[in-house]
């Protein structure tokens, strides 16, 4: 017997054996409230420690209440999801959780986006009857992430992301009972740990326990300083998600309004990281072809596969976990850093602005970008190429702060010369996009032929590890794609064991790629949102007249006027980097 009959709230239902009460109820439109539970469909990500007890329901004939998230249905089961007993117990559980939680919602960075807050509201909590001691813990501030453990409710979502999905293994529950907290080993601070700052813990934290380091006040200060020229770049994934903060349906592209808003905030030039993404393709694509032709000439020492290097969390991951392989990734800097470097050299010279008077702000879907722009190798005499990286969420708060009515803004265009981009630059925002963009350019440079098609459906999707073979004029180029660091680890272990047949591999740390970045509007466990953002990215690509990086006229001009050719000495010093052993 593979199916089970039961009733939930008097509604009869037939479901597959092994289904939980929670899933069965969801199937008939009954949403049992949850807190610690989180499931991202299609990404194989689920957290169900059964710890919070918010999802308890009454099962006829069962002595105690059952946690719906981890109780499987059985034949003839009669479930009541909101009997008086259930509602009372749920409120009690909530009050007990709140009794050890600060009540500073008004000034909490998570206010308005907090699952705990909205659940307390939904459950109608007006008083906390349990006055007792509150646990306190020191605050831990790293270059990208802040841990405010007083607000932790021990849902263990961060721990699941950090260990099972990302296999980084920084966060674990430690100590016991009232003293239990989620912490790195030996209670060290994050910046001493092997944390990659991918921010997936921040993305799933239901409360204000894990948040990004906020740089909005620094940006405001720069914008109001008359002696500074402040320019901004926005990453591809931002335009596919920012709208959610202003009530738009997930997957709505708001590129034009985003540009408008940035101009109204007072940025002197509104540029696009997509431009730098096109530049990345020129460098990384050339590097791939160089390594490939050496390989085809029989050079045994050439390092293949080449791995992408756009993602700062991924870079930090292999520097900690696979330092012996640090020669394999492309030496190309990430688009954020390429942009900063070109802005503070080419653009500054062109506009006759002194380096120290030029402030480069980037809008990123990512919290690791905050860490990346602070890395020493991306500074000249202590002055960083990118001064501040703010997340999509921080940008939304800046727009609200400046009384800008986002939905009423006209659509505007990016400034030039660093604002023009192709569809190839846009798709950097999703898993599979960087390698697709690279293929579009590398193919034409290698075969000297025009691509018969531009959409590589075989590289797209949400599967954790994907592979495809692209025919490069008779040479089968084997491509691998991984998103989520756990999947990246699997590919790296294969390479290390000499079992990899790939020539090029794209890696993004966050599930879904940058569209699912740790700095994006919170998805609250709804993976549909990520898929809609991904579709929006491909739509934006399709709408572009130019869809191949090497056809971007401003990229061509940049090489003619300034860099020479890809991988030239100048390009090397401005656009490439090296990696460090961090063990």
């Amino acid at each position: 017997m593979d199916t089970v009959q039961l009733t939930i709230d008097n509604k009869p239902i037939v479901v597959k054996k092994g289904t939980t009460i929670l899933e069965a109820a969801k199937g008939i439109g009954i949403h049992i409230p949850t807190l610690c539970h989180m499931k991202l469909d299609d990404l194989n990500i689920e957290n169900k420690p059964g710890g919070c007890r918010i999802c308890i329901v009454e099962v006829q004939g069962r002595r105690n209440l059952a946690p719906a998230c981890c109780t499987e249905v059985s034949d003839g089961m009669v479930v009541n999801s909101h009997s008086i007993r259930v509602v009372n117990a749920r409120q009690t559980v909530m009050e007990l959780i709140l009794s050890d939680h600060p009540s500073d919602c008004l000034i909490c960075p998570k206010s308005g986006n907090c699952d705990l807050q909205s659940l307390a509201h939904q459950l109608g909590i007006r008083e906390i009857h349990y006055k007792g001691e509150q646990s306190t813990y020191r605050e831990d501030t790293s270059p990208a992430i802040i841990r405010d453990i007083d607000k932790c409710i021990m849902c263990r979502r961060c721990e699941m992301m950090c260990n099972e999905v990302q296999t980084v293994g920084v966060l674990s529950a430690i100590n016991r009972g009232f003293n239990a907290v989620v912490s790195p080993a030996f209670e060290m601070n994050l910046d001493h740990s092997v944390c990659t700052y991918c921010g997936q813990c921040v993305a799933v934290c239901p409360t204000g326990a894990l948040t990004e380091v906020n740089h909005t006040s620094k940006v405001i200060r720069a914008l109001s300083d008359p002696s500074k020229t402040v320019i901004v770049q926005t990453a591809p994934a931002v335009r596919a998600a920012l709208g959610e903060e202003f009530g738009y349906e997930a997957g709505t592209l708001v590129t034009g309004k985003l540009v408008s808003a940035l101009r109204r905030l007072g940025f002197d030039y509104v540029f696009d990281t997509d431009f730098a993404a096109d530049l990345t393709i020129m460098e990384e694509g050339t590097e791939l072809l160089n390594r490939l032709s050496k390989y085809l000439e029989g050079d045994k020492d050439v390092k293949l596969p080449i791995l992408t290097s756009c993602c700062p969390a991924w870079v930090k991951f292999f520097e900690h976990q696979f330092p012996q392989m640090k020669e394999i990734p492309s030496t190309a800097r990430s688009p954020q850093q390429m942009f900063g470097s070109i802005a503070k050299s080419y653009f500054a010279e062109k506009m006759n602005i002194k380096r120290e008077d030029l402030v480069v702000v980037s809008i990123m879907p990512c919290v690791a970008k905050k860490y990346e722009c602070g890395r020493d190798e991306f500074k000249v005499n202590g002055n960083p190429d990118v001064d501040y990286a703010v997340t999509t969420r921080e940008l939304a708060s800046l727009i609200k702060l400046a009384n800008i009515e986002f939905t009423k803004l006209p659509d505007e265009n990016f400034d030039n010369p660093l604002g023009e981009s192709t569809g190839a630059g846009v798709i950097f925002g999703t898993t599979g996009g960087v390698i697709e963009a690279a293929v579009r350019t590398a193919y034409e440079l290698y075969t000297k032929k025009s691509l018969p098609r531009l959409d590589f459906d075989e590289l797209r999707g949400m599967e954790g590890i994907r592979h495809a073979t692209i025919d490069f004029n008779g040479f089968p180029l084997n491509i691998g794609i991984a998103h989520g660091l756990g999947n990246a680890r699997k590919l790296l272990e294969k390479i290390e064991a000499g079992e990899s047949e790939f020539h090029a591999i794209e890696i993004m740390s966050c599930p879904g790629g940058c569209i699912g970045g740790g700095g994006q509007p919170y998805h609250h466990g709804n993976a549909e949102i990520l898929k809609k953002r991904q579709m929006a990215i491909y739509r934006e690509d399709k709408n572009k007249t130019l869809r191949k990086s090497h056809e971007n006229p401003y990229i061509i001009k940049l090489y003619e006027e300034y860099l020479g050719k890809p991988m030239s000495e100048k390009a090397h010093s401005l656009l490439h980097t090296e990696y460090f052993d961090r063990t």
Binding site: N163, V168, G169, V170, L171, S172, A173, I174, N175, R176, S183, P184, A185, F186
Partner: protein
């Protein structure tokens, strides 16, 4: 936390224990037990070796070590004293017994005496509730301990090891 350097011999000892349990992550608690028995305690560096050998994260190993009161990250005294704080022992006066040990030895819970002879710890239920309150010195169990007997117990060990196997490791 001051870093200590493990000798090659110690590292090999740890690795041996891990191999004995097939380097399985699921055997973490058993590995920790055995290593603590050998070395007396589980400092950070030891946990790092174990994590590497079992292919587990150090955070996880540390999480387990800090969850169970049996595991210790500081060296235990020659004669580790444990006072049971389980419900039965507690209601029958374990706390007074503990205060008396603290007063006599001039140490807090989790600390060792300056001469390294005694360390003081609490534990949860040794399964001898009928004898509550229970005190253990090494592996020797003392039942129905009254605060007035504390001085006597300490004295037994100050004069040397009286009954065989109280010593650890």
């Amino acid at each position: 936390m001051p870093k200590i350097k493990l000798s090659e011999n110690t590292v090999n000892q740890i690795k041996e224990v891990c191999t004995e349990f097939n380097n399985k992550e699921g055997e973490l608690i058993n590995v920790l037990h055995k290593v603590q028995k050998k070395l007396g305690y589980l400092p950070a560096e030891v946990q790092e070796v174990i994590a590497k050998e079992l292919n587990a994260s150090v955070a996880k190993v540390y999480g387990v070590v800090t969850f169970y009161s049996f595991f210790s990250m500081i060296p235990k005294g020659e004669f580790p004293i444990s006072i049971c704080m389980g419900t039965a022992c507690y209601v029958r006066g374990a706390e007074q017994v503990l205060s008396e040990f603290k007063r006599q030895l001039k140490v807090e819970v989790g600390e060792s005496t300056g001469d390294g002879k005694f360390s003081l710890n609490c534990l949860r239920c040794v399964g001898a509730c009928g004898l509550a309150p229970v005190v253990m010195v090494g592996e020797k169990v003392y039942g129905r301990v009254a605060p007035s007997q504390v001085k006597e117990i300490i004295k037994e060990y100050q004069e040397g090891c009286p009954s065989g196997n109280a010593k650890t490791a």
